[in-house]
Assembly symmetry: C2
Homo-oligomer: 183 residues x 2
DNA sequence: GACCCCCTATATCGGGCTGATATAGGGTTA
DNA sequence: TAACCCTATATCAGCCCGATATAGGGGGTC
């Protein structure tokens, strides 16, 4: 999904500033399947404004930059629905530095393998806790079902790492017995 | 993982042309966690050659462009290990147009929801079949364990879609009862 | 037999996106 | 009191993606 459509999606839920849109990508209901930094969001909002798909009001703030609250227009909502229907969705993109590292576990020190796996398990746990907390939408709603997808996939990933942690470490150990064998 | 390191990783397994490296990202053992198109791979190989991390030999071919077979050097292998150890790996990136569409299921026609879910279930099935087939590396090896991660996560994703297919369709139906109710 | 699409194979280019940086003041924590 | 993070907007370089160009062989279909 291109960044313009992603912004329209966030604004379809409620009016927001560019900063708040980014938070929706980072921590909000879109956090496990969408992305976007300031470098993409601000230009996207400018274009959307030019196309009449969003409008904004300036909220003056003291001691910090004025806040631009963007709001989706009727044309914006129509465009969003169009975009969501217009073609087969792109394949999901999954990119993992962790798996790349683990692929070469046999060539790396055991400490390194242990660290990256333990860090990632902690990360998944934090993500899962966070996803459990933000069940803002009603149970059985579309956002809730999409959240459930995230919970399911993260849980499966975390379990796999926990179940095979020792296997990966063993592979590294076997190749570099010099590294400390303690765990 | 930047594209240069990704190429080094592929070449660490065996010598390959740019074209073959891309296939490794698309269909090979890296296909479920790495990416890279020609527009990234060819420039990356040029840079790696300049840095002495890979070398290449030209294999003349009739009736089609000569094939450049790239091979990793000792310096290349050392650099790869360095890169894989140098810092905490980036978080996994997951981007899904499908989940974005499903998030707005309530605003979309039921046919659309049904189509995208069914297509994706078929896609996951194909991916799983493919992952099962390419167990080239020995059982219990690092590549095999990484492959297992992919199988686990894809299976979980597919099951979730199957289990909640009707729920998503229902949400769309409820909002647009005009759409055909048949299934 | 003619047509079309896909496969091998390299390479470039434009446009889009990421991540870092600039600016600015507030609050919080060690 | 220093360091750091939070709100808030904005820009920019560099990297990457996807499309396109080039070129011929093989295979399937009508």
């Amino acid at each position: 999904m291109d960044i313009k459509t992603s912004c329209l999606g966030v604004l379809a839920l409620r009016p927001a500033s560019g900063y708040e849109i980014r938070k929706a990508f980072e921590e909000g209901p879109f956090s496990h399947f969408a992305e976007g930094g300031f470098g993409s969001i601000y230009p996207a909002l400018s274009k959307l404004t030019g196309e009449g798909l969003v409008t904004f009001e300036v909220e003056a703030q003291e001691k910090r930059p004025d806040k631009k609250i963007y709001q989706i227009t009727d044309a914006g909502r129509a465009t969003l629905v169009e975009k969501l229907c217009e073609k087969a969705p792109d394949d999901d993109k999954y990119k993992s530095d962790l798996l790349f590292i683990l692929f070469f576990a046999g060539q790396l020190p055991a400490d390194r393998i242990r660290n990256v796996i333990d860090d990632r398990i902690a990360f998944y746990q934090a993500k899962l806790d966070h996803l459990s907390e933000c069940g803002g939408a009603g149970e059985g709603s579309a956002p809730d079902l999409v959240r459930g997808f995230g919970v399911t996939v993260y849980s499966a990933a975390m379990s796999y790492l926990q179940d095979h942690r020792q296997d990966f470490i063993k592979l590294a150990d076997d190749n570099r017995p010099a590294a400390d064998a303690a765990d």
